[in-house]
Symmetry: D3
């Protein structure tokens, strides 16, 4: 496993990977590239495609009909349901940079809990879809 999960530093990165690192740092106004991207650098094509989509969908100045903070909450809700610690921690930090308050975070969590509960009640009772919802 060792070699597959090493993190690739800027100094040892190929030009194609460095270009993504540069864009990440410029976009986020930081000189730090998170471990996620430094691991993904083992697969430059997926690194590029993922960063492009992440930037487009969740970036601070991203276009779209939902504001960036709402999208971070959606991202967090999924990551919490899936139990991904890394994703929860990194996107909670990202959301805080976009203005997330503690009260908003706990309220999102309550909704995530309720959804996970009621999803299973719907399955357990084998609730048929209402005609009005078809």
């Amino acid at each position: 496993m060792t070699s597959m999960v090493t993190l690739i530093d800027y100094e040892h990165a190929a030009p194609r990977v460095r270009a993504v690192y540069d864009d990440i740092m410029a976009t986020r106004k930081t000189n730090h590239v998170n471990n996620f991207w430094r691991a993904l650098a083992h697969d430059p094509e997926t690194l590029e495609a993922t960063w492009t989509r992440m930037k487009r969908l969740l970036g601070s100045g991203s276009e779209g009909t939902l504001d960036p903070l709402t999208k971070e909450l959606i991202y967090l809700a999924v990551s919490i349901s899936n139990g991904c610690e890394y994703c929860v921690r990194s996107h909670a930090a990202a959301a805080q940079r976009k203005g997330l308050t503690e009260a908003q975070y706990t309220e999102m969590l309550a909704v995530v809990g309720l959804a996970n509960e009621t999803n299973r009640l719907a399955v357990g009772y084998q609730v048929p879809v209402d005609d009005s919802l078809k």
Copy 2:
């Protein structure tokens, strides 16, 4: 299974269940009680507790720091990740009543897809949490 998943109509409901049905109809300004609640009526205590929380957390006039539509999107994101068809259909309808547009729905879906992808990339690369995120 049959008896466990029947839907309980208003006429056959116990007073305690009827009280919840009445509140659902009054709150939603409708004379229709969704199948979910009519199935859950087999367990009056859970019916009451679940409706109370659903109303408090997702109700149109719910208090809190997140607006009701944002919370419906969070609920939908979780339900989609969990593959709950009933929950997706009923809350997509609820979200539409709160003003959800098609563009917002598809944008939420794109974020849900990205989160489900990157959650697994983080696991597959066994990415360690950055010191700055601890």
Copy 3:
């Protein structure tokens, strides 16, 4: 997909598969073999191994320290969490044959709902394991 998901009838089954079908019918005192086993018959080795374990773990006269009904509830709880409709329906029927009441079923469901909710709260708050639990 067609050929892969056909159900194999007794008449068209190989001797090795028929032996399992015979044991299922004798054990359950019925002349019906559920679709699950008739699909699994495409892979006789897995059919045998799975039926052997199912009979040993969940059979009416199964040995062990948990009674058969409790184990059906455990099986159902997992199947509901995973959203497997076939598994929920077939094991709810099996549990009813072992004496499951509607009240027990709804109480199990309430616990399944609570577990699914609190599992996510624990992740969302990134709760560290208590020293006393290590």
Copy 4:
């Protein structure tokens, strides 16, 4: 993330939170409040609602048609399927306090493993629901 996942001690807790802590300690006859509740204290309303349901559903003297140990096993089965380490550790301890033996725990685990396997076989073979189960 830091501020969101701090644990709230009794001394720094609001009266409403203290009331729940007091009830937890009195009910469990201990002067220790688990980290889960001390994290959930960031959201007093969810803390109250969750503790109330946990006490009612899983409490030692809980009413209902299933005994408390059976319900802990159901809770554990779900938590294991979802991969929630905190939930597994805390409820394994709770179940031990209610008399769980090692043999019962391993038998539950074997059923959880079987359910998770057969759930996927049912999906993979796209097994149609038997007419007799509808």
Copy 5:
């Protein structure tokens, strides 16, 4: 929900969507565009990005170090674990076009079942990672 899940036909598709449809039909040598793409057409940007990745990763002539059939099996294994009926059916068909035999399909399923079982046993026993695996 209705408007969000309609399927967009070629005739009613925008030029950008038509270009993707054209490429799908040319690549697959068919005049049929699967429902998945016709639904995703509501979000042209995600349609383009997803088709590009699907073609690159799973296409018959895709480059890479894994052959296309192996990658279809990986795709199927994930979809079965997640319980996605649409994905199982559409990619089982795709895999058959790439030469998948029934014996290979059932063998893959047996591995998927084993993985889902042992994943939970590892969690249930809280197995620590071996020093030799770190």
Copy 6:
């Protein structure tokens, strides 16, 4: 929890468990028995059944229509989707012993990510199964 998750050493193992340990070491040409098996030793019957299936399905010289490395990739894909760290680490090591390269691992991961994304898009758009796939 303590007693339930201890690892059972060869010296303290019952003869039936030792027989499995011996077979594991002989099969893998090593004198090390992984923690997973030493935990599972608490349930000798499940230990035997699981090892038998693991050896038959994933063993280096396993019969079947899929080669052992392909089956390790399938096993890994499921384990990553389920977020099982132990399973990912131990089977990544097993796959490396069977010749897995870093390029193959990252390509598998990209497919796993794509499947997890598109599974949810299919659910979110409630895509109906094509007539041609039924």
